[in-house]
Structure formats: structure tokens, C-alpha cells
């Protein structure tokens, strides 16, 4: 029996199996669980590299999960193995592997159940691979919910901490809002396109009314809004930083939050760009742009190192979504790919710093770290350079690609992008200046030491990727897009504008924060700063109006209906009635023989009449 063509299923089976084993059998053996998870990540990474290097095993088998007499209504589980999927898998498994490795150092000495942690990582790898390799929307949705679930588990890993438990809940529920739209979108797709298979969607958009297309695409986009934390559902991502930092690097920076972008590009590729109507594109691009701007603004006044990075992630995701809305899927995936490496680097670097500063996350309590942990700081700086798009670093190429696309389509988005770039430079330099220069402002930072080997190695690898991954000779082979081809770089308006915003950002940051001499934020203390620190009151608004007002009101109504109508009248009423009736029937069974014979006799007469009377 030749099963070699089913080899790609290992991408899903391996991590799922490991998760199950970790969870069910190894809860008392965290080391073994860690080893297994690491091996499964390494295994999938190796498999992925082998496929990209040209391994051919034929078409993987399709498993019909729920058969149906109507072919298009069957639920199939199949794998897509095109470059878009396989190169995305490289990002997922590559960063996944590094994060697994980093976790061993990071979680050392943690008192929580580490088997649970590694099981969570493995189940995340399984779910993310499901999204990436899914051959149809139903399977995407399964993976979609599964990543939500694993994200919930990992954010809430330290569930004893109330803020972590709350953040996990918030992430899950906020995502559910988006997923509801996504589900509607999937059903609409099934209705209008007649299929959920990506392979069969091509060319069908032409026969569908534009208004219906717009609704479908916007509904599907809702899923991306939730998962990729776009405005107005962006609120969960900063809170998700309550999870362990490697988790933030893997899930909330590099891979899962990019799933929304991946899904949109996958749709664009399979439905054809003509399915993305003008209105839909406008909505998508605007949401992306708004997210990019407000996230960058909010990042300016954050003090927690992870939160700054979280807002930066939001803002970069905004870029990608904007690019998708501008029908520049290629640029979006390019940025997704470079961003994955350098943002993972930044998060893992932040993780190393946090561990070495004895779990101190406030940048104002750091300072002078460049002297105490030079390697980590150097790697972090590489990531920063990539993020703020200094020419020559990977982020520069991909951001340039997005700005080019924006200028060609709609100059408004181009200028928004340029402005966000200036803000990005400003807040990242603020972080670096405050945390790395000057002198230590707290005990934690004073006693900081260089991170150990398991943490340093992933940082170095990622730093290398952050520098080189944007160059054409690598990008052409690795950017997750079918037939990706890096543009020749040319001097022009986009280049000068982005250089300008870079310069503005650097100048402002240096002007305000100097070279690390300050101990307090000179921008803090006014009402704007307060508003920014309070996330522009968006979360508070949700709490008050949506949760406090609408939801509570609705909940009261439902509670009334539930307790009065359903429990009171329907359940208890019926029960009361039935029990009374039961009493009546058992009262006939009084024990008296004469009564029994009477009942039987009357019954017999009725029986005889029933059978014979009508004759």
C-alpha cells in the first residue's frame, strides 16, 4: 500500500497527536512533553523545507468528513499544496520551531503546568496548519476556531492571574463576534459561488450581482477583522499580551493574527480579484488604514514593552489589510512574511529582556540594558531597524512594496502609510532609547544578565532573517505567494517620502528623549497622553455601552423569559401537571381487588364494543 501521497497530512496529524499525548499522558512530565512538542515542530519544519526544496509526493488524499448526496454540500478535508500555502507553512513552522526552542529557556523555573503549555503550542501548530493548508472554507473555519481556542488556552496559561484569565476571555469573545460574520460569509459563499472549495471558485464571481459580492466579501472580511485584530475589534490584542511572551511572538505577532490577511489573499487568489468589488475594497482598505493609524498613535504613549510591540503589530497588520484592500495581495503577503520574522524577533527579544530583568515589563524601569545584555539588544535593534524600514533591512522592501501599491491605487492611503511610518519610527526609537540607553532605573535592570543559549540562538537566527529576508534572491523563493517576484528597486516619490518620514521619526524621538538621560516621559501628564494611555477610551466605550448597556439589558430580558416563561410555566408547569396526573393514575392502583376487577371488566366491555359494535 503506497501511502506516500498522504505524507502532507503529517503537517496536521503530528502536532495534533503530540498535543493529545502531552495533554493526556504527560501532564506530570513537562520535560518529555517539551521534547515531544519540539520534535513535532522540527518534524513539520523539516517536512516543509523538504517540500520547498522540491520533494514531490503526488496529490494528498481528500477525506470526506460528512458525505452528502449533493457533491457541493459535502464537507471535505483536503490540503492545498501551492507555493502560497507551503511558503506560509515555512513561516509558521519555522517561527514555531524557534519559539518552541525559546520557550524552553523562557519557561524554565515556571511553576505552572508546562505540559499544558506545550500541549497548547502543539495544538496551535495543528490549528494554524489547518488554516494554511485548508482546501476549502469549511476547513478554514475549523482551523479558525481551533486557533481561537488554542489562543484562549495560551493567553490564559497563567489563569491564576485574574488579568490573564480576563484577557483570554476577551480575546475569545471578541473573536467570536468576527467569526459570526465569517460564518455568514462562508454560507453566502456557498450560496452564491455554489462551492466552498478554493479550487472551484475561480471565474464564478462574474455571474454574481456586485451588491451580493460586496456583502459576501465584507462578511468574510469580518473574520479577518476579528482574527487580525482590526478596528473595531482590535481591543483583544493588547490584552492578549498577558500570555507568556513566546506565545505572543508566535500567535499574537507572527502567525495567527496574520491568518486574516492570509485568508483574504487566499480568497483573492482563488475567487479572482474581480470578486473584490470597489465598495468591498474600499471598506477593507479603510479599516486597515484606520487600524494602522490609531494603533500607531496609541503605541506612542505605552510604557509596557510588550504592549508597545502589540500596538505596533496592530498597526503593521493594518498595513497588510490595507494592501489587500488595494488588491495588492502580493505586497500584503510580502509584508506578512518579513513582518513575521522581525516581529517574532522583537517579541522574543522583549521576552529575553523581561526574563533577564526579573519579569519587569515597564520600559521606564529599564535603562542601560545595552551594556548588560549587548547581544540581545543588538538583535532587538536589528528587528527595530527592519520594523522602521531602514533601507537594506527586510521591512524596508515590503513596506516600499505596499507604499508603491497605495500610490498607484489611491494616494490617500499612500500618505496615511507614510504618516504611520513616521509614528512607527518614533515609538520604536522611544522604546530603544529609554530601555537600552542611559542608566538602570530599577533593581531588575541593574542585575540584568545576558540571556542563555536557548534564548540567544533563536534571536540570532531571527535577526539574520530580519536583515536578509527582503532581498530578492531569498524573497523570490520564500514569500508566500504564487509566482512572487520582487520588484527591481527604483528611486522615486515613495522612496523619498518614506525616507522623509523615517527622518522625521528619528529627529522627533531624539529631540524628545535625548540619549537616555530622561527618567520620565516628557509627553506624559497631559490629556492627550491620558487618552492615548486609555486606548482612546474605545475599550471603556465597549464596556459601558455594549456590555453594560445592550448586553446587560438583553441579558435581563432573557433571564426574565428564561426564569418566568421557560422554567416557570413551561418546565415546572408541565412537570407539576404530569406529576399530578401520575398521582391520579397510581391512585387507581389502590390495592383493592374489587376495584381492579371492575377496571378490567369495564375495559373488556369497551374492547368488545370497540371491535364488534360497528357491525
Amino acid at each position: 500500500m503506497n501511502m506516500i501521497h498522504n505524507l502532507p497530512w503529517l503537517f496536521l496529524v503530528l502536532p495534533l497527536l503530540v498535543a493529545a499525548i502531552d495533554w493526556l499522558c504527560l501532564s506530570k512530565h513537562p520535560r518529555l512533553a517539551a521534547t515531544l512538542s519540539l520534535l513535532s515542530a522540527a518534524g513539520t519544519f523539516g517536512l516543509c523545507v523538504a517540500y520547498l526544496a522540491g520533494l514531490q509526493t503526488g496529490t494528498p488524499g481528500i477525506y470526506t468528513w460528512m458525505p452528502c448526496s449533493l457533491e457541493q454540500l459535502c464537507l471535505h478535508l483536503g490540503l492545498v499544496m501551492d507555493p502560497l500555502a507551503m511558503r506560509m507553512m515555512l513561516v509558521v513552522t519555522g517561527i514555531g520551531l524557534l519559539v518552541h526552542f525559546f520557550s524552553i529557556g523562557y519557561m524554565k523555573g515556571d511553576s505552572s503546568n508546562l505540559s499544558r503549555y506545550y500541549a497548547g503550542l502543539s495544538i496551535f501548530m495543528f490549528s494554524m496548519s489547518t488554516i494554511v493548508l485548508a482546501s476549502n472554507l469549511a476547513m478554514t473555519f475549523i482551523g479558525w476556531e481551533m486557533v481561537g481556542f488554542s489562543s484562549y488556552l495560551l493567553i490564559g496559561h497563567w489563569f491564576n492571574k485574574a488579568s490573564a484569565a480576563d484577557a483570554a476571555k476577551k480575546a475569545f469573545i471578541t473573536n467570536r463576534v468576527g467569526d459570526f460574520g465569517f460564518l455568514l460569509g462562508i454560507l453566502l459563499t456557498l450560496g452564491f459561488f455554489g462551492t466552498m472549495n478554493f479550487a472551484d471558485m475561480g471565474g464564478k464571481a462574474a455571474g454574481i450581482a456586485p451588491a451580493l459580492l460586496t456583502v459576501t466579501i465584507v462578511c468574510l472580511f469580518c473574520g479577518a477583522v476579528g482574527k487580525s485584530a482590526q478596528f473595531p475589534l482590535h481591543v483583544w490584542l493588547p490584552d492578549a499580551m498577558e500570555g507568556p511572551t513566546p506565545v505572543s511572538a508566535l500567535i499574537h505577532a507572527a502567525t495567527m493574527v496574520a491568518a486574516g490577511v492570509y485568508m483574504l489573499v487566499r480568497l483573492q487568489v482563488s475567487m479572482g480579484t474581480e470578486a473584490f468589488t470597489e465598495t468591498a475594497c474600499c471598506i477593507i482598505a479603510s479599516v486597515g488604514a484606520i487600524t494602522a493609524v490609531i494603533a500607531a498613535i496609541m503605541a506612542v504613549q505605552q510604557d509596557d514593552i510588550k504592549r508597545i510591540l502589540a500596538y505596533s503589530t496592530l498597526s503593521q497588520l493594518g498595513y497588510m489589510v490595507m494592501a489587500v484592500g488595494l488588491l495588492a495581495g502580493e505586497a500584503a503577503m510580502f509584508h506578512l512574511y518579513t513582518h513575521a520574522w522581525f516581529k517574532a524577533l522583537l517579541f522574543l527579544g522583549a521576552g529575553a529582556i523581561i526574563v533577564c530583568c526579573h519579569h519587569e515589563q515597564d520600559i521606564w524601569k529599564m535603562g542601560g540594558l545595552s551594556k548588560r545584555m549587548p547581544l540581545t539588544v543588538l538583535c532587538f535593534l536589528m528587528g527595530t531597524c527592519a520594523l522602521i524600514a531602514i533601507p537594506g533591512f527586510s521591512g524596508f522592501f515590503s513596506k516600499e512594496a505596499i507604499l508603491d501599491a497605495a500610490l498607484a491605487k489611491n494616494p490617500v492611503f499612500f500618505w496615511v502609510g507614510a504618516g504611520v511610518a513616521a509614528l512607527t519610527t518614533f515609538y520604536m526609537l522611544r522604546l530603544c532609547i529609554v530601555a537600552f540607553l542611559g542608566s538602570a532605573r530599577d533593581h531588575g535592570a541593574e542585575h540584568a544578565r545576558e540571556a542563555g543559549f536557548t534564548m540567544a540562538l533563536p534571536l540570532i537566527i531571527l535577526a539574520v532573517m530580519a536583515i536578509i529576508s527582503g532581498y530578492g534572491f531569498i524573497a523570490n523563493d520564500l514569500v508566500p505567494f504564487n509566482g512572487f517576484h520582487a520588484h527591481g528597486f527604483e528611486l522615486g516619490l515613495p522612496f523619498y517620502v518614506s525616507m522623509g518620514s523615517l527622518a522625521v521619526g528619528i529627529l522627533l524621538a531624539v529631540a524628545i528623549y535625548g540619549f537616555g538621560g530622561r527618567t520620565k516621559d516628557p509627553l506624559a501628564g497631559n490629556c492627550i497622553s491620558k487618552a492615548l494611555r486609555n486606548r482612546l477610551y474605545i475599550d471603556a466605550l465597549y464596556d459601558k455601552v455594549l456590555i453594560g448597556g445592550l448586553q446587560q439589558g438583553f441579558a435581563h430580558l432573557m433571564q426574565f423569559l428564561d426564569s418566568f416563561l421557560i422554567r416557570g410555566i413551561i418546565c415546572q408547569g408541565i412537570m407539576w401537571f404530569t406529576v399530578r396526573l401520575g398521582y391520579l393514575f397510581s391512585a387507581i392502583q389502590c390495592g383493592s381487588l374489587r376495584a381492579y376487577t371492575l377496571v378490567s371488566g369495564i375495559g373488556l366491555i369497551i374492547l368488545i364494543l370497540l371491535l364488534a359494535y360497528q357491525f
Binding site: L593, Y596, S600, G603, A612
Partner: protein
């Protein structure tokens, strides 16, 4: 007409063998007073199992007879673990004197059931039925030191005598109308061939006779309106006897009913007047039986009485099969009876075990079993879940067949569509009272002084086998249909 020439001696070989075994046991009881009575139970049960093996593998498999024989065997075997109570209630103390017949009489009754399966005329039917009934009278009142048992014996005797009277009267009418005791569709055809117009008296008289014969069968199966004896007798009779009455004797009732109804098969087609009458009659009986059985069970706290009402309720579900009189009727009834027998017998084993060790037959005596005896509690849960019709148990499958039968019948006779909601509601009620036992085991604390049960060997084996069989037979059809 010649009754003797209708049958061959071979047909009754298993019945003769069982009677012979019973005679041997009674002789042994008189001649070998040293022999422990447990050996009687063991030998009797083995005899029944051997008989059921030959019935199952014989040239003409006798499925209903096989169920009855196994059920009899198991209810004798139940007495094996129940000897302590038997001795206390019969001779007092641990004296085994006079308990021998308690193990032999069920064999005679079983022989009656086996000859009943061969009956093709009313005389054989009546004689076989009385063999069962007479043994049962003795068995029900056998615990002479137990007031409940004596009361049960008296009530069963009086009400049983009434039912016998009705049966004899019906037989007389039958002979008077058609001039023969034979059962067969040619007889039915003779009686009503000309329709009402040609021979009104004959047809009406024949139907009156049929109604009375049905009533005799209803008494045995516990269908309304002849169910009245069930709760009291089940509660009062010795537990092994109750198990016998609930399963073997009920099977006998269904054998009779099948024998009486099958000759009507050619007439039970849409458009036939007599078919409509019969179907309406059965639908009403099934509906009323379902309502009475399930409603009555709701407030019961004594588990034997609960199982009594449960047996009425289950009989209602089996009655639904009789709405489609065709060749697979006997198979369907047999399937349902098998599911019912496995679950009910296991339940009685559990009751006997609890009664022996905790001295009570109330549901409350089951409290805390989930903690103290988790495995036994699980097996009991499977049995009660099967009685309630929880999916993945055989009880679900057969209940589903019953619903399918009701829906099929509605296709032919739209007038009985009210039966389906009755079935749905009463099936839902079943969950309430069967789960009372499960709730007691898992959610309620054991009463003070109630320790963990020691599971006797036979009880353990039978409980395990019954629960496994229920799960296996409940899941196997699914696996087969999945391919």
C-alpha cells in the same frame, strides 16, 4: 378436527425435557435433603440455557421461545444469589427446607411457554397458558413468611382466574361461531367472508370471541385494561418470580397475541373494515397502556413497583408493532423483547443484590452506588439507560423501530396519527423515572450505614453480560450501516 394429528411429538421435545428436569429436581428435593438448594438453581438454569441453545439452533429457530427460556434460566439463577432471602421468607432463618420447588416450578412454566410457541389451535394455547399461570400462582405466593408475597399470590390468583375465565369464554364463543378451535386465516375468512350483510351474527360473534381472546393475552403482557395486577404483584412477589413474570411470562403473552393476530394479516390492509377495527383497537390499547404505564411510574419510590409500571409502559411500545400485521411482526416483537429482557433482568439482579445487602427495595437504597461501586453503578446505568432508550444502547434501536412502525401504520391509517405524540411524550417521561435510579446512584449521598456492595459472582457476570450485550446490540447496527 383432530387435535393430536395437528402436532408431532418432536415439536414438544424441549418442553418435555424441561418437565422431566423439573420432575427430577422435585424428586431430588424429596430424596436428597442434604443437597444444597443452590445446586438446584444452578442445574435448573443450565437446563434452561441448554434448551434455549437447542431452540436457537434447531431446524426452525424459535426466537421468542429462546428468549423465554433464557429469561427463565436467568430468573432461576437470580435465586442462586438470593437464597438467603429465600430461606428467611420460606422456612425462616437459614433453613432450606421446602425451598426446592421454588427452583423447579419455573422450569414447568417454561415448558408451558415452549409448547405455547407451537400452538396452532385454541386448546393447546389454553392448556399451555394455564401451565404457565398455575406455576406462577404458586411462585408469586411462595414466600409464605412475607406478607407482600402472600398478598401478591392472592391477587394474582383472583385476577388470573378472571382472565382465564374470559379466555375460556372467548374460546367457547370462537368454537360456537366457526365450529373449530383451529387458528388460521381460512377460519377468519370463513367467519367474515360474506361480510356483515351475509352473516351479521356470525361476524359479530366472531369478533366478540376475538376481543375476549385478546383480553386473555393482554392480561399476560400487561396491556390496558388488563394491566391492573401488575404493580401489586410485581412489588409483592419474590424478586426471582417478579423477574420471571416480567420477562418470560410477558413473552408468553406476546406469543399468544401473535398467534391470535397473525391469522388476520390478509385483512389488515387499507380499506378493509375489519382491519380498521383491529388497528384502532390496538392503537387505543397501545396508547392507553403507554399513558398508564408511564404516568403511573412517575411517582413510584419502590423499584420493583417502578419496574412493574415500566413493564406496562414497554408493553405499550411493543403493542405499537401490532399496527402492522405482517410477516416481520414476530421478529420486531422479539427484538424489542430481547432489549427489554436484557435490561429488565439485569435490573432485577441489581434489585436482588441491593435487597440482600441493604434490606430495602426502595430507590433510596441505590444511593451512593456511583461512589462505592462505580463499576456496578455503570452497568446498572447502562441497563436503565437502555430501558429509557438512550442512543447507543439497544433500547434506543428498538424504541426507534417502534416509532418507525407507528409512522408506517399512519401511512395506512391516518386516523391513528394521535398515537405518535403520545409515544413521544411518554418516551420522554420514561427518561424521568428511569433516571431517578441513575440520579440516586450518582447524585445522592448513601444513607448512613450503607456500605459498599459485595457483588456476588452470578450477579456480576449477568450484569456485565447484559450491559455489554445492550451496548453491542445498540452500536452494531450503526457500525454495519456505516460500512
Amino acid at each position: 378436527m383432530n387435535i393430536v394429528s395437528t402436532y408431532t411429538w418432536c415439536q414438544f421435545a424441549p418442553a418435555f425435557a424441561l418437565v422431566g428436569l423439573a420432575a427430577l429436581l422435585i424428586l431430588a428435593d424429596a430424596l436428597l435433603p442434604k443437597l444444597p438448594k443452590r445446586a438446584f438453581a444452578f442445574i435448573g438454569a443450565m437446563g434452561c440455557f441448554v434448551a434455549s441453545y437447542f431452540l436457537y439452533t434447531g431446524s426452525q429457530p424459535n426466537f421468542l421461545g429462546c428468549i423465554a427460556a433464557v429469561a427463565t434460566g436467568l430468573s432461576i439463577l437470580l435465586a442462586f444469589d438470593y437464597t438467603k432471602i429465600c430461606c428467611e421468607s420460606i422456612a425462616g432463618g437459614s433453613n432450606e427446607e421446602g425451598t426446592g420447588e421454588f427452583y423447579a416450578l419455573p422450569l414447568v412454566a417454561c415448558a408451558g411457554i415452549l409448547s405455547l410457541t407451537q400452538a396452532r389451535d385454541l386448546v393447546m394455547l389454553f392448556v399451555s397458558l394455564e401451565v404457565i399461570t398455575l406455576s406462577s400462582y404458586v411462585l408469586a405466593g411462595y414466600f409464605r413468611r412475607n406478607q407482600g408475597s402472600i398478598e401478591a399470590g392472592i391477587k394474582y390468583l383472583v385476577l388470573g382466574a378472571m382472565s382465564t375465565g374470559i379466555l375460556v369464554y372467548g374460546t367457547a364463543w370462537y368454537f360456537g361461531m366457526v365450529g373449530t378451535f383451529n387458528l388460521g386465516h381460512e377460519v377468519v375468512f370463513t367467519a367474515i367472508k360474506g361480510g356483515v350483510a351475509a352473516s351479521p351474527t356470525l361476524a359479530v360473534g366472531f369478533l366478540v370471541a376475538t376481543a375476549m381472546l385478546f383480553a386473555g393475552a393482554f392480561f399476560k403482557i400487561g396491556a390496558a385494561p388488563m394491566h391492573v395486577w401488575i404493580p401489586d404483584v410485581y412489588q409483592g412477589a419474590p424478586t426471582p418470580t417478579t423477574a420471571f413474570l416480567a420477562v418470560a411470562s410477558k413473552t408468553a403473552g406476546f406469543i399468544v397475541l401473535c398467534a391470535l393476530v397473525l391469522p388476520f394479516a390478509p385483512f389488515c390492509v387499507p380499506g378493509s373494515m375489519i382491519g380498521k377495527l383491529l388497528i384502532w383497537c390496538f392503537a387505543l390499547v397501545a396508547g392507553v397502556t403507554l399513558i398508564i404505564g408511564n404516568m403511573g411510574a412517575i411517582r413510584q419510590t419502590n423499584i420493583k413497583r417502578l419496574l412493574g409500571y415500566s413493564s406496562v409502559a414497554q408493553a405499550g411500545f411493543i403493542m405499537v408493532f401490532f399496527l402492522n400485521v405482517n410477516s416481520i411482526l414476530v421478529d420486531l416483537v422479539g427484538q424489542y423483547l430481547l432489549a427489554y429482557a436484557l435490561a429488565t433482568l439485569a435490573a432485577f439482579y441489581a434489585v436482588a443484590m441491593v435487597r440482600t445487602q441493604r434490606g430495602s427495595e426502595e430507590i433510596a437504597a441505590f444511593r451512593g452506588l456511583g461512589k462505592s461501586n462505580p463499576r456496578t453503578a455503570f452497568l446498572i446505568t447502562v441497563c436503565f439507560a437502555s430501558l429509557a432508550g438512550v442512543p447507543l444502547t439497544m433500547g434506543f434501536m428498538v424504541k426507534m423501530y417502534s416509532f418507525v412502525a407507528a409512522i408506517t401504520a399512519m401511512g395506512n391509517w391516518a386516523g391513528i396519527c394521535w398515537l405518535l405524540p403520545v409515544m413521544v411524550i411518554t418516551a420522554a417521561m420514561g427518561f424521568y423515572y428511569y433516571f431517578k435510579v441513575i440520579r440516586a446512584m450518582y447524585w445522592e449521598k448513601a444513607e448512613p450505614g450503607h456500605k459498599a456492595l459485595q457483588v456476588p459472582v452470578c450477579t456480576g457476570i449477568v450484569l456485565t453480560l447484559c450491559a455489554l450485550a445492550l451496548i453491542y446490540l445498540g452500536t452494531m447496527p450503526l457500525l454495519v450501516s456505516m460500512g
